[in-house]
């Protein structure tokens, strides 16, 4: 049996925080950023690592990649000890920190690729092919010559991911990669990652705040809270455990199937009022797997809650579209804090 | 609010801004002391090589000169300062100019506040080290110190006026590094920071005398050391005041020009 790509046992990390207390003295207290984590990820898997801010996600990533030394316990990444075998490990992993850059800030993007190809000692034809592939699939062509500091967030993240994958690592670690991106960019990025994994079998460790990332990209979730493992299983299992629901918000045109010209309701709905539909607005009760939780603006905006795993947002929207003309759709996620809170309440 | 009080507020702000940097101030005082430790023996060796006296400096006076220059160079701020240039470049200067206070005066007040903070923590340590290592030849009466502190304050003012003027180049130049370096080099060369102006050969002494730079460092150092006293000291102070007012006024004229250019061309 092959070795797991990530193997963590009893991993802990403490920080000493000093704060001034009064004029001259300072108190110091120990913060257990990560406490006694144990989990193992087989090669080829995709794991989502979620938790609230400050839960210890970035600290774990740092220990797995060799940036930080554990206070206790062991971590092995790609079969290596991250801190001691930092350089060998760096050849086999690619890391993207959403809020910090690994690229060369004031140089054009293609220079970063050139430097990384040299750093990883990639033969030039292989590097060129790989770069062309990534540039094509991540749509980097139009800003290859732009200095990294002038790129938009979405462009930069795509560049970072390409840079992290240039040397075809066995493991890709993404720390909050979609933070700050718009919906379209997020979806394109997720699509790329799914394809990449299918094509090359790259393992994925993804920390995120976004349940959509988790659902699209991973098969397994680790939930960490205050440095400790709170859940290790599938998304369906988690949703089952906490009963979290997603909400589809549809803006409709009045009248069944379209004849509702002129019924312009401003996008900003007023306070939700259940019940009270205007004449001609379709009834969205009874769509399988959903629960109608709110009807607003005389029925022109309605909210349907559903449990992921039992049905999908796409199915719900399709079902609504079969009954009415949909003008606009939004999907509200259960947020991470909510999930984690429910997780603790359910224990 | 009476304008004088406004400027006092700005001075207090300048003071407080710098008083927050406690570690950097301590480190800076350490650096000043180390430099004094190096420059004092060099200065004394020169005087020794000249036969024990050079332009009125004996060995102890030479050492005192070296320690005093280290003590005053921080309040006088001979190194680069580019706050104003940055605000001009970013366009934030427009916000500053819209305020109902005189821009140059508020900056001056802030700079004096900064100097007021730095005088003691950056000035005393090198003098203490100097007193212990080489000994200091300082006056025993009060008047030289009073005149010396006035000269120090004026030295700060002259330095400010020059730095202000140099920063105004940002209205016309994109890359200021060259101008700032040139200014720093001129100050370093002509203010008496490393060798006393009194040791300059004639041609260099004439250039220095035609510049505001000796008023920044050599003037306060001479008065604090008691090298120049009485009426002569008042003369030195007079020269400082003249340079201060002259460069200050020039700074106001150039600012107006710069603002007009900004308004006409659009920030």
């Amino acid at each position: 049996m092959t070795e797991p790509i990530i193997d963590v046992a009893g991993l802990s990390r403490d920080f000493t925080v000093r704060a001034p207390a009064g004029r001259l003295r300072r108190t110091s207290r120990t913060v257990h950023a990560v406490h006694d984590l144990t989990f193992s990820v087989p090669e080829g898997a995709a794991v989502g690592y979620i938790g609230a801010n400050g839960a210890g996600k970035s600290t774990t990533i740092k220990m797995l990649t060799g940036i930080l030394v554990p206070t206790a316990g062991t971590a092995r990444t790609c079969g290596k000890e991250p801190h001691r075998q930092r350089r060998e490990l760096a050849r086999e992993i690619g890391v993207v920190f959403g809020q910090r850059t690994q690229l060369w800030w004031d140089l054009p993007l293609h220079e970063s690729f050139r430097a990384l190809a040299a750093i990883h000692r990639l033969p030039s034809d292989r590097a060129a092919r790989r770069q062309a592939e990534l540039v094509d699939r991540l749509d980097l062509g139009e800003f290859l010559d732009t200095p990294v500091r002038q790129l938009s967030l979405g462009q930069r993240i795509r560049g970072e991911i390409a840079a992290a994958l240039l040397h075809s690592p066995r493991l890709l670690v993404l720390d909050e990669p979609t933070i700050g991106l718009d919906v379209l960019s997020k979806e394109r990025l997720r699509g790329f990652l799914v394809e990449e994994r299918a094509a090359h079998g790259t393992s994925l460790l993804l920390t995120t705040h976004d349940m959509d990332d988790v659902q699209r990209l991973t098969e397994r979730i680790l939930v960490v809270d205050h440095g400790q493992m709170a859940f290790d299983g599938t998304l369906a299992g988690l949703v089952d455990r906490v009963g979290a629901q997603r909400v589809v918000v549809v803006d409709l045109l009045g009248g069944a199937h379209g004849a509702g010209a002129g019924a312009e309701v401003g996008g900003a709905g007023g306070a939700g009022q259940a019940g009270g539909r205007a004449a001609g607005v379709p009834d969205l009760h009874g769509i399988p797997g959903t629960e109608l939780v709110a009807v607003e603006a005389d029925g022109l905006r309605q909210r349907l809650a559903f449990t992921p795993g039992l049905t999908t947002a796409a199915e719900v929207i399709a079902a609504v579209a079969a009954r009415a003309t949909v003008r606009d759709v939004a999907i509200e996620e259960p947020d991470i804090e909510d999930v984690v809170r429910r997780l603790y309440l359910s224990q | 609010m009476n304008p004088l009080r406004t400027y006092v507020v700005f001075a207090a702000l300048g003071f407080r801004r710098y008083s927050a940097y406690r570690l950097a101030t301590a480190a800076g005082a350490f650096t000043n002391s180390v430099f004094g430790l190096l420059r004092a023996p060099i200065t004394m060796a020169v005087i020794g090589a000249a036969g024990g006296e050079l332009a009125g400096y004996g060995a102890l006076e030479g050492a005192t000169y070296a320690w005093l220059t280290q003590a005053v160079l921080t309040p006088v701020n001979v190194w680069t300062w580019n706050e104003l240039a940055l605000r001009i470049r970013s366009g934030d200067i427009a916000v500053d100019l819209a305020r109902p206070v005189d821009l140059q005066m508020t900056y001056l007040a802030g700079d004096l506040g900064r100097a007021a903070f730095q005088v003691l923590p950056r000035g005393l340590p090198p003098l203490l080290v100097g007193a212990l290592v080489t000994g200091l030849a300082l006056p025993t009466t009060v008047l030289p110190y009073v005149l010396g502190l006035i000269a120090l304050a004026l030295g700060v003012c002259v330095s400010f006026a020059c730095r202000w003027l140099v920063n105004l180049a940002a209205f016309w130049l994109v890359e200021l590094r060259g101008v700032l370096t040139l200014h720093m080099v001129a100050v370093g060369a002509l203010s008496g920071l490393t060798v006393p102006v009194h040791w300059f050969p004639d041609w260099l002494a004439r250039i220095a005398a035609a510049s505001p730079f000796p008023s920044m460092v050599q003037a306060p150092v001479d008065l604090l050391a008691g090298r120049v006293q009485g009426i002569e000291a008042l003369g030195v102070i007079g020269v400082q005041v003249a340079w201060f007012l002259g460069v200050l006024l020039l700074g106001r004229v150039v600012l107006a020009r710069g603002v007009r250019r900004l308004v006409v061309q659009g920030g």
Partner: protein, 266 residues
Amino acid sequence: MADLAPYRAVLSSRIRSQLAYRRSFALDVAGSAGVGLLEFLSVYVIFTNVTELGGLDFAGVALVFAFANLGFSLADIVVGHVDALPTYLRSGTLDAFLLRPLSVLGQLVTSDVQLRRLGRCAVGVAILAVALPQAGIDWGWGAALLVVAIPLVGAVIFAAVFVAAAAAQFWLVDGAEFTNAFVYGGSNAASYPTSVFTTPLRAAVTFVLPAAFTAYLPTLLLLGEPGPAWTPAWLGWFAPVAAVVAWAVALTGWKAGLRHYTGTGS
């Protein structure tokens, strides 16, 4: 050498981007030359008043000054950029270094190159060109070797001082002010004959911070002069030893600093 290729890639980009803006690069070089000339001005003014300092005449002191400045600016061009470490620590760039299969110090050193310091280099070379013929040197292969070797060994020593100062930033907050005392103080001490210092101070700038080995002691060899008490001229032959020791200290400090960083987190 294959192993240098990754460092070369970034370095060549930096060089190209610095040379791209011709006019501002020229201004920078001129500015750096100006700073070098300014420092020499002090020496010049001194010698308009006296004929010898610390046992050397104007040509001799000019040699010491020029060798020290040349060594310092050569080191500054290649290694000077390590003083950006505090900025890299704050911005998380150091983490990016740790995630690459390269030595962190190597990446830090090659992350930039200060070509504009060539101005100061040029000033040093110019002073040497003028002072060497006037210094009364007994020319031969030994002297020629010394002239080439002194600034190179001096550069190696100053580079070690830069690295040690950078390593200190792992522990200090706002530490640059503190280490400047040693870096620039060392450069200042190196530019003058250390015979002007009292014995304790001379020992400090010879055996603790090896400033005297960068210029003064080897120059005494070149001039055939004896040295001051406790630091005789023949010590000048040991300048390469001083360089090795300096680097050993600097690298030890650097490794310890990196261990401290990964041990305590940022």
